[in-house]
């Protein structure tokens, strides 16, 4: 079963395991308290003498490549989510491993999607032992039900880089899906029939994994220009007919929400940014592809035009809404983490001001700084927020795994972090006394924006002062909570959750911030 050491209490008062299997864990100690020691992890030194001088590293198929990598029982195999719900490579790699008769793999995806649901069968038959990465839908349900043999570990995008470079996770074989590559292994996501924009979620794996396989359905003669993954880090290249379903890799177009509540919330956030004086020449913001975030960009754009200000850079999840800003001259650069729609893919391929970034440059906490803390405003979501502004993005209120962390934890370091949430979903209030799983500490959450008003973290006196003259509905979080509970017929009952850990949530510095427990009853919520 899921071996773990004694449960200890961390700095947020949450119980976390002191060790997982044989790996000792550091309980969360507070923001910027824990410091890493030692040197970065590195793979074995390779010699060009062992690689073909003509640069042709091709093997006929994935199985041949996995065999050449020496894949065996108990190893760690990594894949990446830049093909999102259209990914055909992760499953193909794991299925090739099953055919080889390999067992007890640790699967280390940068994120998982509904298309990866069949991995539950590979866990049932013993091919995969456990997952360290995001688990949603059927995978989340599988883990939450206690069916996974090992302890799940959820990390942010930055935390994944940190765990790899610190040697916390040693990747034996990385399998990188590449929309375009050459036989040497240079690879990019910006071109090809399965173009997805950036593939930099795989960058850490290419640098630190013992063996690296590039899988492509668009092989070009050397050199693949420009490359995002460098062939000098790649062991083998496999050409396949298709790496995935382009229709599910990229949405043709992303659309702004029509929900009046979400539009209202988005507009209030934009007005807040303006009224607080954050909207000024040279500012920066990050907004993803969620409904409220996209609408926020729309409102902000109007205000930027009106105030005649220009951003120095914007970060995303890029979509046509960010691309429009770039083309209209309302921002100098897009620093792109991942690319969500066709307009984004075209822009990243053709516009040098649209720059692919990596979790290293954007998010890694164990580096010499990162971009996330330089962003003026980040608009994020959450499933629950408590009165201390602690927030949950990974579990539903019944304790079941629901979402991965993505870049969420990393983005909390922006100068003004806004959680945009509905005040209730169905009948369930989003503002609670205590969140089910702390994914981010309240000290880093500056604003909670709901359709019923905006709550500013009392720690941010500067922000409260800056907004003193604003006509926005700025209200204490307690007041919004009480109003919603009156509407919903009182505070919800808290469902019983077991004390049997199934997964842990890592903080950006590798410490354990909270624990996810086995859930007994099947949830009435759809996945």
């Amino acid at each position: 079963m899921r071996e773990h050491g004694a449960m200890v209490v961390n700095a947020l008062g949450r119980r976390v395991p002191s060790s997982i299997a044989d790996r000792e864990q550091v309980p969360y100690r507070g923001i910027d308290v824990h410091r890493p020691e030692g040197r970065r992890w590195g793979p074995t030194v390779a010699s060009a003498a062992d690689y073909p001088a003509d640069g042709d590293k091709r093997l006929p198929d994935l199985r041949a490549a996995l065999e050449a990598c020496g894949l065996r029982d108990g190893m760690t195999i990594s894949t990446h989510h830049h093909l999102r719900n259209g990914d055909g490579v992760a499953l193909a790699a794991l299925e090739a491993a099953r055919e080889m008769g390999v067992r007890d793999l640790m699967w280390f995806p940068s994120a998982s999607f509904p298309c990866h649901a069949p991995v539950t069968e590979l866990m049932d038959d013993g091919t995969v032992h456990h997952i360290e990465g995001s688990m949603n839908g059927p995978l989340g349900a599988y883990c939450s039900a206690g069916r996974m043999r090992g302890m799940g570990v959820l990390r942010s995008h930055g935390g994944r880089w940190q765990a790899i470079q610190d040697g916390e996770v040693k990747i034996d074989v990385a399998v990188i899906a590449a929309p375009t590559a050459d036989p040497f292994g240079n690879a990019t996501g910006s071109r090809g029939p399965s173009a997805c924009g950036s593939i930099n979620f795989a960058l850490a794996d290419s640098l630190y994994a013992e063996k690296v396989i590039v899988v492509t359905d668009n092989l070009v003669p050397f050199p693949c220009i420009p490359w995002q993954v460098q062939g000098n880090n790649v062991d083998y290249v496999v050409e396949v007919e298709s790496i995935g379903d382009p229709a599910k890799i990229i949405s043709g177009t992303t659309r702004i929400t029509r929900s009046p509540d979400r539009l209202r919330t988005a507009e209030m956030i934009a007005r807040m940014i303006r009224d607080a004086g954050i909207l000024r020449d040279g500012f920066s913001f990050q907004a993803g592809a969620g409904g409220i975030a996209l609408a926020f960009v729309g409102f902000l754009k109007e205000m930027m035009r009106e105030a005649k200000v220009r951003a120095r850079f914007v970060r995303g999840g890029s979509t046509r809404y960010l691309v429009d800003l770039l083309q209209e001259g309302l921002t100098d650069y897009i620093l792109d983490g991942q690319t969500f729609d066709l307009a984004g893919v075209e822009s990243i391929a053709g516009d040098p001001r649209h720059v692919p970034t990596s979790p290293f440059t954007s998010y890694n906490h164990h580096g010499k700084g990162n971009f996330a803390s330089m962003v003026d405003v980040a608009v994020l979501g959450a499933t629950e927020v408590d009165l201390n502004f602690n927030a949950n993005v990974v579990t539903h209120s019944d304790g079941r795994l629901l979402h991965g962390i993505g870049g969420w934890q990393n983005c909390l370091f922006s100068r003004c972090t806004v959680l945009a949430v509905p005040s209730f979903r169905d009948r369930l209030p989003v503002i609670v006394d205590e969140v089910t799983t702390i994914t981010g500490p309240g000290e880093l959450v500056d604003v909670v924006a709901t359709e019923r008003g905006i709550a500013i973290n009392p720690r941010r006196e500067d922000l409260l002062d800056a907004l003193a003259g604003s006509d926005l509905p700025i209200r204490p979080l307690e007041e919004i909570k009480a109003e919603v509970e009156a509407l919903c017929g009182g505070a919800p009952e808290r469902p019983a959750i077991t004390d049997d850990p199934v997964a842990v949530i890592k903080w950006v510095d590798g410490t354990v911030i909270d624990t996810v427990y086995r859930v007994e009853s099947s949830s009435p919520f759809g996945s």
């Binding site: 009046p260 509540d261 539009l263 209202r264 209120s397 019944d398 979903r425 169905d426 009948r427 369930l428 359709e451 019923r452 509407l487 919903c488 017929g489 009182g490 919800p492 009952e493 808290r494 469902p495 009853s521 949830s523 009435p524 919520f525």
Partner: protein
């Protein structure tokens, strides 16, 4: 014998909605019984959190209807308590139970002046609880819970309960609480339910004669007298036919409760047999006629709705023309229309500035005991002063004047 004060035997009945796409609503099935007490079975998306609360609420409602035995199956998609209350009532009344009292409004309105600001009124279908919950957040001057065209004929009774429990339990903030009743005579039955929970204004559809308004007014008088305390309930007849427009003057003067007249352009143009165009030339005369009749009777003229929710620029153009014709507001069918309508019906800054100068000159003349008001070298006629006073008062109510002063100081 099964129960329910004087309503005879009960039969099985259902109410509400269920299905994969339904959210914030529920479905109720009631099966009568003669023994065994009340059995409530709850299947809910939020059972873990509110299962017990739903159970208790439903059981109490059944007892309130004087029913002692029977089985209720609740299929709930995260409905709020006001919706649960309404759906259970609808099922029980459909089963033959006598309607139970609603109780009092939790957020009763302040007294509403007859000539209150009515730039925007937001239509909310009376059959969808999800759209009602946050209706008060969008800044509309009025919220109309609609029992008429947006409600399927088979659902009229259920919508009545939903509108009533929404008015009783929800806080619509500063918005005027309005209900559009059904065309008479069915609309009179709506009144029996909704007046208990204090709407501030009733819209009466398809009015063609003063008599229809008097009927509603008399029913309101009777209900309000029953309630014991003094409540203002205003009426807004909707003229939607050639006959209605011809009778505009007598309709406006039919009752002292008539606060405004409005027009329904879809039905009106259909009655004329002409197409409704973006420019609205085909209804220009009818709308002018309505403005004149309303002003002659001392009430407001309010315009129809703009049907294309994607075209906010067209809406703003329409609104500006409406204002120029003498209308004081119009209907909204989506919250995104509300700020656009408010902008369209706001006086231009230049107009406000000029009016302020006229008012200032008027006050200076009065202080100096002069009968003649002059602005620079020009003499100002009394109607100009009156219009300026009215415009300044209106701008102040819209919150436009304070802003200007702040800007001026800043």
């Amino acid at each position: 014998m099964n129960q329910a004060r004087g309503s005879g035997a009960l039969h099985s009945a259902q109410a509400g909605r269920r299905g994969e796409k339904v959210r914030s609503d529920l479905h109720v099935t009631f099966e009568p019984a003669t023994t065994g007490g009340i059995e409530v079975v709850v299947d809910s998306r939020v059972a873990l959190y509110y299962g017990r609360a739903i159970h208790e609420q439903v059981e109490a409602l059944v007892r309130l209807h004087g029913i002692e035995h029977g089985r209720l199956q609740i299929t709930d998609a995260g409905a709020l308590p006001f919706a649960i209350d309404a759906r259970v009532r609808a099922a029980l009344v459909r089963a033959g139970a006598r309607p139970a009292p609603l109780g009092r409004a939790r957020h009763p309105p302040d007294r509403v002046p007859k000539d209150r600001l009515r730039r925007s009124r937001l239509y909310i279908p009376g059959s969808d609880p999800k759209l009602m919950t946050n209706a008060g957040l969008y800044g509309a001057d009025g919220i109309i819970l609609d029992l008429e065209d947006s409600v399927h004929p088979d659902e009229k009774d259920a919508a009545r309960w939903l509108v009533a429990t929404a008015l009783r339990d929800l806080d619509f903030g500063a918005a005027e609480r309005m209900v559009r009743i059904n065309q008479l005579p069915a609309g009179l039955d709506d009144l029996d339910v909704v007046l208990a929970v204090r709407p501030s204004l009733l819209l009466i559809p398809k009015v063609e004669s003063a008599e229809q308004v008097r009927e509603v007014s008399a029913r309101v008088d009777a209900c309000v007298a029953d309630q014991g305390d003094e409540v203002d309930v205003w009426l807004m007849p909707i003229l939607e036919s050639a006959r209605g427009i011809e009778a505009a003057s007598e309709i406006a003067a039919a009752s002292s409760r008539v606060a405004a007249l409005t027009i329904g352009l879809e039905d009106y143009t259909a009655d004329l047999g002409v197409a409704k165009t973006p420019g609205g030339e085909e209804s220009a005369w009818a709308r002018s006629r309505l403005v004149n009749a309303a002003r002659a009777a001392g009430c407001q003229a309010i315009d129809s709705v703009y049907g294309d929710i994607a075209d906010l620029e067209g809406l703003e153009r329409w609104g500006r023309r409406s204002r120029a014709m003498g209308f004081e507001g119009m209907g909204c069918i989506h919250p995104s229309q509300v700020p656009v309508v408010h902008r369209a019906f706001a006086p231009e800054p230049r107009e406000i500035e000029r009016a302020l100068r006229v008012v200032e000159a008027f006050e200076a003349a009065r202080a100096a005991g002069r009968a003649v008001v002059a602005l620079g070298s020009k003499m100002i006629d009394p109607p100009v002063v009156d219009r300026a006073l009215a415009l300044v008062a209106r701008a102040r109510r819209m919150g436009l004047l304070e802003d200007q002063r702040e800007d001026g100081q800043g």
